[in-house]
Subunit: 428 residues, 2 copies
């Protein structure tokens, strides 16, 4: 079935009936900082939110709407300021973003989802934002250029825009899922500072849409790690407006499976893009664990390895240090038999066996250099304990990461005008 | 009672009846790499070991002896090579280290504890080690110089030697606890690549000795974090030879409490020394959480903050980024009410309030610079949820860390002779 699902160039406007716009409204110094996504028809929608105890105002807004079972028509997103830890004023600002967007588009505020990303603990300059929304809305369009503008406006320290689309057919109808995402910095398994927006023209019941998304996120976005923190703002939103004209999907049959596989393909692509764009990263690292007793074990092991500072630094130092990988696996809490482990690394056509049945292969340095020189290095671990597998993605830890992450709040984010806003004294 | 317990200059030989020696035997290029500790009388002893699923050969050796209830007389420790992931051959090497030490000192092998620290997955050049043990044993002495030699021999990337002692009186008898420890690199809560050896002349039942140690370790060594991995080799060993001549402690009365407080004082001192000597660290960071619902919550929060890359990088960048601290707290899984949080930083006489009742105080940059310029910065978090407290220690994340940790296996550890040893082909 997978052969019939295609990954194509595309973005948030690729599916029928979706428009977007992205503008610079003054929150950042130069780059675009406000995005709007609009659907011509009401959408069923699904979401996953951050597991952080502290949740930003827009996360709370969307959660309430999801629980109320509201249909949606639009998403408004700002970058530079996260509107997190901003108390009642922050909630009021989120509401004003929804109200202004709704007024521009002839909708109810409850039909508008909100997202923010950027610095925590700073108030949004709300007039700048509402003025910006009004200026942005007239540019909504379904072109690929508009999709790119929106994708740029949701980034923070990202060094490139992340967007893609997948297509497949159901009953002869072409179904499209278009998406844009942002990551970079503070990215970790439980969806830390990661935003992803997916828009499809599929016609499907909301509960099934949610089920498909909830299955896909743990395999994709939750398997990436750039550093060890979860953020207060992360979310994945999936909107379905039904305009493809397929017969409404009401059960978990073959059509539903198409959606599941399409989502996995799209989300894996975006997750890898986010992982490879970790702040200062020079390499994408992929950890594949196989032969585990359970999927849970496999995921825990893969994530523990990809989250280990010591493993990440080894790759920056071009050192195939399997000892650190094994130590990270052991620290995960998962029980395994070291004597059964097979561990190797590969990149391109080069392959470097390191452990076979728990026995060390000391490989020549030339082969080691060839594998580690790659910009995409795979770590392959086979446990010999069962049939379960998992894959995680991350990057190396570099000088550049420390520079970029250290200067984040001061350099990368807010314009002078935005930074000059309220915040003197007390915020609540 | 605490006033009667004194932290003094001292080391592993400070208590009556303990001798030590430290030598360079060729495992490292120049620095000392083999230590022996010897007690003139058989010791009751207690220990805590790494929780890593993968345990190095010496950890397995000591665990077996502890479970067998054997008394002990000596410890032999090598640095440079961890003897971890080395299979049956590694276990044989540990046994030979104990046997050789025992033969030199007129003991049974079961009276000798073993520890190793260094690179994982490499075989010990066992003849170099046994020859080195024989060369080292004649130098055993109870001088402070000998303690320093042993303390140096157990280090790896440590930039300074960690040793200290505490003294107090029980029934007019002077009780001494002397200790040496190593940390730096790969140090994390659950005792990662951390060795600590404590020798006391107290007379006490083994079960109470273990109880005191098991209470102290979670408050001290397990509350430090330099990076996120647990190692395969960590242990704390506490030996008591009874030579102080106090009436044997057989219950948890006042005398037992002296031991508990003495251990806490000594272990806190060493834990802070380890944290401040994290690879490349420029600052010691102390996180104190108060007002938590339970000690478990307080510890989880403090450790999560101190383990956050983003928090650590903020300090390197001299940015009082409370948003990252709150995000790290939220990611710990502990429930708390953001609106009740008080958060401040301090160093020396400077104090920087950042959050009061969940409301942000935007402080002037001069005050921020004064606090962050310190080499010891405290983060104080009050939750307003209960009475429980915890403190954790760590350091900032710097360019230097990445350099040192990246080059660890190639530069810091083995001599050419040690690296040239077996390991071509297969190890098991």
């Amino acid at each position: 079935m997978a052969g019939q699902i295609e990954l194509i160039q595309g973005g948030i406007t690729s599916a029928n009936g979706f428009q977007s716009a992205g503008m610079h409204i003054g929150l950042r110094r130069k780059r675009k900082d406000l995005a709007i996504v609009f659907s011509e028809k009401p959408c069923d929608w699904a979401a996953t939110f951050t597991t952080n105890t502290v949740k930003a105002a827009p996360v709370l807004w969307n959660k309430d709407l999801l629980e109320a079972g509201a249909k949606t028509r639009a998403i408004v997103v700002n970058s530079a300021i996260a509107n997190s830890c901003t108390g009642l004023a922050g909630q009021q600002h989120t509401k004003e973003m929804a109200e202004t967007t709704a007024a521009c588009l002839g909708l109810q505020p409850s039909e508008v989802l909100v997202a923010s990303t950027g610095v925590i603990g700073v108030h949004l300059p709300i007039k700048m934002v509402t003025t910006g929304i009004k200026a942005t809305a007239p540019f909504l369009s379904s072109t690929f250029e508009s999709a790119g503008n929106a994708a740029e406006a949701i980034t923070t320290t990202d060094s490139f825009v992340k967007q893609a689309a997948v297509q497949f057919k159901i009953d002869g109808k072409l179904i499209t899922l278009g998406a844009m995402a942002k990551g970079s910095g503070m990215v970790h398994p439980n969806m830390a500072t990661m935003l992803s927006f997916i828009a499809t023209d599929l016609n499907i019941e909301q509960t099934l849409l949610q089920k498909a998304l909830s299955q896909s996120v743990p395999k994709t976005y939750n398997m990436i790690s750039v550093d060890g923190d979860s953020s207060t703002n992360d979310m994945v939103l999936l909107l379905a407006n039904g305009l493809a004209g397929n017969k409404r999907i009401c059960d978990e049959g073959e059509e539903f499976q198409y959606l599941v596989e399409g989502l996995d393909l799209l989300n894996t692509h975006l997750a890898k893009a986010i992982a490879s764009d970790g702040e200062g990263a020079s390499k994408l690292i992929e950890v594949s664990v196989s032969g585990a007793k359970s999927v849970e074990d496999a995921r825990k092991l893969a994530r523990h390895v990809i989250s280990s500072n010591l493993v990440k630094i080894s790759f920056f130092a071009n050192d195939a240090n399997w000892g650190r990988i094994v130590a990270a696996m052991g620290a995960s809490g998962v029980e395994f038999d070291f004597d059964k482990i097979e561990l190797s690394m590969s990149s391109g056509h080069s392959h470097l066996p390191l452990l076979v049945d728990g026995m060390a292969y000391w490989t020549d340095e030339k082969n080691e250099r060839a594998v580690l020189a790659g910009t995409e290095v795979k770590i392959l671990v086979h446990l010999g304990e069962g049939d379960s597998t998992a894959t995680a993605w991350g990057c190396d830890l570099t000088h550049d990461y420390i520079d970029k992450s250290g200067k984040y709040r001061r350099v990368h984010s807010m314009s002078r005008a935005a930074a000059a806003e309220p915040v003197k004294g007390v915020v609540a």
